[in-house]
């Protein structure tokens, strides 16, 4: 049975495993094949783990079993209990754990090899890169988790002007530690210094980022963990790690740039922070009190929609917070019975994660075909009778197109203001995460329905039933 432990055989298993990863991800392109794709990727992971355990000379079986069992026991209930609205923080948390694992492995390896004393330089560099990025990702993801879970304040927390120099200094400190190790220093303090400096860097970079930028941050951290896994693969000469890590690195990078583009923000600008709270409303608040806002009631909103030909629902984070997706679906069904077409306009960065709204609406069994992407729906707002904005703010702000002084100027928006009339469900007039006044609310054809999104929609549903 020695052929099973032959390095060539193990490498063949690795090739099978990364083929399964790629094939599985290819199947994620459509909602019908995606479920299967996910399991194919999971099977690839299974093959990779089995192959690794076959490597000649494996020992410490009890400890391995302990780790795997404890990890599984923790993750299963977590995965099944998490609410769909809490998905972004769950992904952030899992992502952080992956990064943390890499940092810990690099540390243990450093101790095991006496400070990488006899390792090749290229592998040492790869390991150090993995440790640095893994540690950034672990702490950064935990902060993202804390912000999304509202353990930490969602508003940016930072050092203001000192932020950039401090970040730079921490980064330099981390790199100095790495260079010291690579050039032959074997004291463990260098490694601890590296991990601590990159931990501080992870905290410092994510803490000042506002909640609205979270979709970008999460996919960026995801990409970073992938890259550090790939680096670890080079250090350990392990094909499965290199391929899987790099695919994640590449996909995360694409997603990050897509998200950033959807917000018309550059990635460096987001990482540099300050969007969420620094730029206040740009003088908008002085005139704010005099400006007229139309408010409406649930009954009027229901009538308005009942006599429309078509309605476009614009969901945002407020919908997720209020857990109103099932009621929205019920409302859409009632309208559908009256022969009114209801579609949903999904902005790429609505919510706290790319595609967050789609998941929530899918949870409520809203048909996939009714969800329209921004480019598709924007050409249709001109023919829309009623747009119902539920807890979305900045993505509907016409100032992004008209006011060059606005911090969000140039960000692609949903052109809700082109529709015949607009109903906005909102808790109060307070500005959104970005802290910017929304011109849309002062538009004469806009009516505001103040209150919790869930109870507002529930009221509308009741009214619709009576019509």
């Amino acid at each position: 049975m020695s052929w099973i432990q032959d390095p060539a055989f193990i490498n063949i298993l690795y090739i099978i495993s990364f083929s399964l990863f790629i094939y599985g991800l290819m199947k994620l392109t459509g909602p019908k094949t995606a479920v299967q794709g996910n399991w194919i990727a999971a099977a690839g992971m299974g093959v990779a783990v089995v192959a690794t355990l076959l490597i000649r000379g494996m020992s410490n079986w009890w400890l391995i079993a302990l780790g795997v069992v404890v990890g599984t026991v923790i993750s299963i209930p977590a995965a099944y209990k998490v609410k769909m609205t809490a998905m972004p923080q769950m992904v952030a948390l899992f992502n952080g754990l992956g990064g943390g694992a890499i940092a810990l492995i690099s540390w243990a390896q450093f101790r095991d090899t006496g400070g990488f004393a006899e390792e090749e330089l290229s592998k040492v560099i790869a390991s150090l890169f993995a440790a640095l990025v893994g540690s950034i990702s672990f702490w950064g993801s935990n902060v993202a988790f804390g912000k999304l879970q509202e353990i930490l304040p969602g508003k940016p927390v930072g050092l203001g002007r000192l932020q950039q120099p401090v970040n730079l200094l921490t980064f330099v400190a981390a790199v100095v530690c790495a260079v010291a190790i690579a050039s032959g220093q074997t004291s463990e303090w260098w490694m601890i210094g590296l991990l601590i400096a990159s931990a501080i860097l992870g905290l410092m970079v994510v803490l000042p980022i506002g909640g609205a930028d979270m979709p970008v941050v999460i996919s960026l951290l995801n990409a970073l963990t992938g890259l550090s896994a790939a680096a670890k693969g080079i250090a350990l000469d392990n094909t499965a790690l290199i391929v899987a890590g790099m695919i994640v690195g590449a996909s995360g990078s694409i997603l990050t740039s897509l998200m950033a583009k959807a917000m018309n923000r550059s990635i460096p600008a987001i990482v540099a922070g300050g969007f969420g709270g620094g730029g206040t409303s740009g003088g908008g608040d002085t005139g704010g009190e005099d400006r007229h806002v139309n408010s409406t009631s649930a009954a009027d909103a229901a009538i308005q929609m009942a006599y429309a030909g078509n309605v476009v629902v614009v969901p945002g984070y407020g919908l997720a917070v209020a857990q109103a997706q099932h009621l929205v679906k019920e409302m859409a069904e009632l309208l559908g019975e009256k022969g009114i077409t209801v579609s949903y306009a999904i902005h790429p960065v609505a919510g706290r994660m790319p595609g967050h709204m789609n998941v929530l609406l899918a949870e409520a069994d809203v048909p996939y075909e009714a969800l329209k992407e921004m480019d598709e729906i924007n050409s249709q707002f001109g023919q829309t009778d009623v747009s119902l904005v539920i807890g979305a703010n900045d993505v509907t702000n016409p100032a992004a197109e008209t006011n060059p002084d606005s911090p969000i100027y140039g960000m692609p928006i949903l052109k809700v203001n082109q529709s015949q009339s607009v109903i906005v469900l909102k808790r109060s007039m307070s500005p959104g995460f970005a802290g910017i006044e929304n011109e849309l609310y002062y538009d004469p054809k806009t009516a505001m329905l103040f209150g919790d999104a869930k109870s507002s929609v529930a009221d509308i549903v009741e009214e619709l039933k009576q019509l």
């Binding site: 690794t52 079986w61 392990n238 996909s251 069994d365």
Partner: protein, 107 residues
């Protein structure tokens, strides 16, 4: 530069392009499950923990602790990641009973 490193760099670059091509086809709607699935895939770091722990001879208690924690983290990342993705994707599948019911209602 030894050939093993160069080979690995080649694999790295090709994998980058493969990832790029595969992922650019995924529609916006599926971005959350996609991220969650790729997130599970980078849980592959658990392999690194298995190798370092399994191949090390006498590592000392502290190293054992570090590596067991790394395996726990990696396993949570993998198992939790795939399960959560499956749950999310399950919601995109129209439940077969639902459609029939809807047709009845509208008829």
């Amino acid at each position: 530069m030894d050939s093993e490193l160069v080979q690995n760099l080649g694999i790295l670059v090709l994998a980058g392009f493969a990832g790029f091509l595969v992922i650019s086809k995924v529609p916006n709607t599926l971005h959350t499950p996609l991220m969650s699935a790729t997130n599970a895939v980078h849980g592959v770091v658990v392999l690194a923990a298995l190798i370092v722990l399994g191949q090390g001879v006498d590592l000392g208690v502290f190293n054992d602790i570090l590596l067991v924690i790394a395996i726990i983290f990696g396993t949570i990342n993998v198992v939790g990641g795939f399960l959560v993705t499956d749950r999310m994707l399950g919601m995109f599948k129209g439940k077969p009973g639902d459609k029939a019911k809807k047709q009845e209602e509208t008829a």
